[in-house]
Amino acid sequence: MNPFTRWWEVTRREFLAGLRRPANWVLLAIVGFMAWGLSEGSVTIGTGGSGVDAEQPHITSVFNQSMIQCVIIMVIAAWFLAISCGMVVIRDLELRVVEVFHSTRLTPREYVWGKFWGPVGVFAVIWMFFLAFSMFMAHVVRGAGASDVVGDFALGNYLVPTLLFGLPQILLFAGVPFFLGTWTRRPILVFAFPLASILVTMTFLSTWSPSWLSPDVNRLLMLFDPSGFRWLNETFLTVDRGVEFYNTASLQPDVGFVLSRVAFALVGLAAVVAAARSYARRMLAGGMELRFLRWLRRLRWLRWLWRRRTPVSAPATTSKATVADLGMTTRPIGFWKAARVIARSEIRDLVVRPGMYLFVPLILFQVLSTTVLAIGPFNSRILLTSGALAVNQLNTLNLLICFLLLFYTVESLHKERSRRLHEIFSSTSVGTGAVLLGKTLGNSVVAGFILLAALIGDAVMIVWQQLFGGSPVGFDAFPFLATWGLVLIPTFIFWTALVTALFALFRNRYAVYGLGVGLIIYTVFDLQTGGSLTWVTNWLGWGVINWSDMGPFTLHGTPLLLNRLLYLSLVPLLVALSVKWFGRQDFDAMGIIHRIRPKPLLLGTLRLLPFAAPAIILASFLAMKGESGYEGDAADEWGEDYWRKNTATWTDFRMPSVSHVDIDLDFEPAERSVAVEGEYTFYNHRDYPYEKLPITAGPWDPIEWTMDGESYVPDDRANLFVFTPDEPLEPGDTLTIGFSYDFVFMEGMSKYPSGAGEFILESGIVLTAFNPSFAPVPGYLPGIGVDGDNSSEPRDYEDDFFEGETEPLFGWGGAPFTVRTRITTPEEYMANGVGQKVSDEVVDGRRTVEWETDHPVSFFNVIAGKYAVSEGEGTAIYYHPEHDYNIEEMTAALDAARKYYSEWFYPFPWELLKISEFPAYAGYAQGFPTNISFSESIGFLAKSDPLSHVAFMVVAHEAAHQWWGNLLTPGEGPGGNILSEGMSHYATTLLHEQVYGDRYRMEFSKRLEESYGDGRFVDSERAMVKTDGTRSGDGTVTYDKGGWVMWMLQQEMGRDNILAGLRAFIAKYNPDPDFPVIQDMLAVLRDFAPDTTAFDDFAAQWFHAVVVPEYELSDVTKVQEGEGWVVRGTVVNAGTGRMRVEVGAVVGGRWSDEGDDRGRTVVAEGYRDARAVVEVGAGEAAEFVIRAGFEPERVVIDPDVLVLQLNREAAVFEW
């Protein structure tokens, strides 16, 4: 028999054994399920048009397959491959077959390579099945029905990604764990490698890409990312190249990336070579530890150590005593004592094994680094508070420790068997329950140790931030104890019990690994993709905490507690099953057949019923309450009913104006209830009479209605109440409709652990009049009840839709109105409404505050909490007393906004502009007139460093809505929202420049630009005058591009001209029955443009078409001429659009941090630049010549960040 035959025999045997292993069948089922699921087209590249006939990205394209394959292999296959390869030699060692093998002519090298290729071969078969099944599902099964997402069949589209992304990962995740297992012979290290790789890759290498990351570091990370996803994403996907490109282009890797793939493959193979060497050496020379000891013994200065050792050989027999002399007796060991002894043994075992020292730092690094590197709104850093840290780390800790507990529990339960102690161990009188409890307690030390270490790490970070980062935030243990204790501890107890029960049932560690890993992956995948896990089914406790420093657990306290109790209540059942099934005694196969007969099965089930009863009761209660609560089917039904009964009749109905709102609100936050009494005065501002007036109410019952002071019963059309006055409401007439009711907001229990946009809670109150959440809304609301069954086609707007009167985009329509709000709450609350506070009284522990508008508004809200107040110049910020970290910056921003926006756009007409904080159950901010609502997660808990000024930025944007949104309410239709959001971004840009100078304006502009580059959908994007929010990518066009284009228009028109134009624009439309859109604004601004031709050209490009330049530099040279330097080069516009753009030859860093007082711009000494201007159209090139009186270090296109462009980082040339 030749070496090849021997190798082949080992490979073949291992391959066939692998085919029989349950874990591989689990993997086969998972990849089959994924191939089936992916063929639905739910995972595609984010590109393509949004219209019915628009081309869609193909699931079969090489780019889509690359994206899918590199992630699937990394996230799922790596586990199975690493474990099956890493354990293969360990298993043989446990079975003690290797010495027999090597008594034959089989060499260590033949054995090792055979053992390696066996499981790799099995994985290759499974992967081929995945590819073949994917092809079959896409091209055969789905082909006809899903033709819009299925392209022509091309084998290369499947094989190229496998070769480029799959093969290197396969070899890496097979080779390295194989080496670790062969070298150390410790399973825990085999598990450590894929765990570490997946964590580091998925949370850092593949995905971490803040806007400030240097391109060189980015490139380096691409090469070090084993999945290859970062390279794929950053090279092809981040900036949308259009659906045609993704569907037809071939994937062309660069040399560096190919070399990195080859390197990963070689690392895997080199690991196998190292494993073969290690194995061969060990067979000859004993274990690693023995060799280490031998090495130690050679060290002279350690000789004293060896002299003190006990003798190694047996002395002559001396004892003549008998066993009876020992006086031994036996007493049954107590349960707790046994558990304690076993736990101690487990802990001792953990302490001497390396896994703990590997996993704990790894997990700590992962948890702490992801928290420190966490990115908030606008790529800002997040302020590290105890609550934010505890909750941000919750899911990561949960997931990682569950994986760890899976490994440790299974290995611990299998330990006696793998060390052949199980028969002695099982024959002792110690109870099975005590054994399992002891092992569980022992392993729980790992979880406890990690939690403790994470807690200490967090405390250190917070204190460090406080001492050296100037942070005002101190450490508070309560959020950690409350959230980790409530969520993690029950999960770990349940999970350990479940894993133990599975092990007891299957008695096969690989089956338990397969099921455990599968269950975790399924759960997290389902939860992350907006799946269906409710309070009943969310066993992991994933995302169940919506933390607020303003009052934790006030949103989901009861269902969260019941969810935790549910899974704790399952523990006795799982323990009972574990104790019953745990393998102290090997079952008789015939006995199993006997046991699964119906009668014994039924009896067995009945015996377990008392254990299952609490869980059944809790699950039923949670399910029932969830269904009957505000997220249940009943709650959905009224909305659907509302839509079905009214959409055809009332969608195009235009309401008369409301001229005055008078409303009394009496809140009981602890009970989530409010009593409402109020009236709306309608004024017919139109030129036709109204016979009927519809008003939408919430699910409040009963509602007492009045009309002109008389009790009235309107026609109830599923909560659209239709009023029919005795006489039609003639033009210019008024009508008063009154209402009173009380209700519990978010009545009942939630079904899902999601946040809430509006709420009445003990921690705070946020309610808006946009929706019938607390007050009736005039007219029919087409957004209510819309779902898969109830939906309408988006309205198709004609090009001249804005001619004549345009309805408002939001608010109640008609002219602005006055509001008086009287709000009663418990004394400790401060309730804010729109307008000016006219009274504030406390009677019998109840505070009543009255607000009146001193200038009309178009919508209103109510917000309340237990606040401290910071007052500025005509401004106030109401905040949670512990959230004073950014108050100074926010107050300064609000003052600056009020002052400068008044100068630039329109005088602020109200007396007071205030911001009120609300609990972070929602993460938005809304600029209601005079009464801006701010989530605590925005601004208040941002780490507002000088580069980001994020608190300033958010306040500036939201304050700008007082002008762009309130004083000028945009019209309904395409482009309307840009007058709100885009203009607010533009105002923020201006305020940055005003307050902090050029440096920070440029930083802000770059962030918007990058957000646009990342978020745009090339095929979906329409001109700004056509952007209506219905297509993918419309958000970034509305916000980021909108703000940027206005900034560029300012360069075109001149600052004074555009501001004058904008003042005229607001003055014209405030108030006006015609609500403006972009075209209206352009018409006004044009009159202020110094060069109308240039203005028209600009508007044609940026407002009426879709363009975006992408500049590149080529042929750049510098030559010394006399005392100066001449720089020549070419600017190429690889994008679209024609713009004049500056090219700068630069030396030195531009900005200085020296003397940078409170983040204001200071130009660095030594910085010099010389510039030229080029105008480059789409696809064109323009040469430039720059004469500089210094030797330049680099050439920068658009050094002042004045032209919106893609890939700005590539528009730099450095010598």
Binding site: A314, S319, V323, T330, I342, S429
Partner: protein, 303 residues
């Protein structure tokens, strides 16, 4: 008294490891002899409560071991055929751990008891060394120490002397003999000497059945005057084997020392009558099992 009745164990395959065996084991040492695969270990594991039988009962002092294996664990000392220990623990720590799990107590405490037990198996010198550094014999002795611990009423030892050197083997014989004075010791082995030295009673298993339930003396006595020993040349061995029932044939220095069983008629030339050994009895039984004639050696056991 250990009473085994109609015990059947069928492994998937199916392989009938025990084919309805019955046996009564009185107090004292009882030997279980049989070739590899006879079902000895299966029987021992069932008796130790580690393996569920397909059918049948096992009672010890009236307690049903099959119905509730926990009952036997309190009274059991068990030394399996194949076992290991936690490698990172020292011998003493490992033993102490097992003593605690067994609920063993002693006047001077468990720690002292562990030392004493290690002394009984001559392992004191290695008490502080980690088990992973133990030789096979040392591990076997540690196994014996744990099996002896706790004054078990039933001691089940499966191949206990495997891996022991002659001196340790004798030490173990002495320990077992001492223990067997007031308890039941079930000793499974295929080493005939172990049985002949230690066991007043024995049973021989073959192919999942008891083929004899007897005493070593009885087994030997039944063969009295029927065993002859002689030395034959290599060429004559085939003829002797054909014409007589050869119990043993050992090649020694190029010549065959042959023992034959001959109930009547003259022995071959050069053969003289000799004392029968238990090995003769065992080997004859093994041969007879194929022909179904086992009565020459011992009472046929119930099966």
């Amino acid at each position: 008294m250990l009473a085994i009745k109609n015990l059947v164990k069928v492994y998937p395959g199916p392989v009938a490891a025990l084919q309805g065996v019955s046996l009564e084991v009185p107090q004292g040492m009882f030997g279980l002899l049989g070739p590899n695969g006879a079902g000895k270990t299966t029987l021992m594991r069932i008796v130790a409560g580690l393996l569920e039988p397909t059918s049948g009962t096992v009672h010890f002092n009236g307690e049903d071991i099959v119905a509730d294996p926990r009952r036997i664990r309190r009274q059991l000392g068990y030394l399996p055929q194949d076992f290991g220990f936690y490698p990172h623990l020292t011998g003493e720590s490992m033993l102490r751990f097992l003593l605690v799990l067994k609920g063993v107590e002693a006047p001077d405490g468990v720690k002292h008891l562990a030392s004493e037990l290690l002394d009984r198996v001559n392992l004191s010198y290695a008490a502080k060394r980690k088990v992973k550094g133990y030789s096979g014999g040392m591990r076997q002795r540690l196994g014996i120490a744990q099996a002896l611990a706790g004054d078990p009423k039933l001691l089940v030892v499966d191949e206990p002397t495997a891996g022991l050197d002659p001196e340790e083997r004798l030490r173990f014989y002495r320990l077992l003999a001492e223990l067997a004075e007031d308890r039941t010791v079930l000793l499974s082995t295929h080493i005939v000497d172990d049985i002949s030295v230690l066991c007043p009673r024995m049973a021989i298993m073959y192919d999942g059945r008891f083929v004899a339930d007897t005493t070593p003396a009885e087994a030997r006595g039944r063969l009295a005057g029927t065993i002859y020993q002689g030395v034959v040349e290599k060429d004559d061995l085939e003829r002797i084997d054909r014409d007589y029932r050869v119990t043993q044939a050992i090649l020694f220095e190029g010549r065959n020392e042959v023992r034959i069983h001959l109930e009547e008629g003259p022995p071959p030339d050069g053969f003289e009558a000799t004392e029968p050994t238990l090995e003769d009895a065992y080997l004859l039984l093994a041969q007879a099992n194929g022909s179904g004639n086992a009565s020459a050696v011992g009472e046929e056991a119930g099966s």
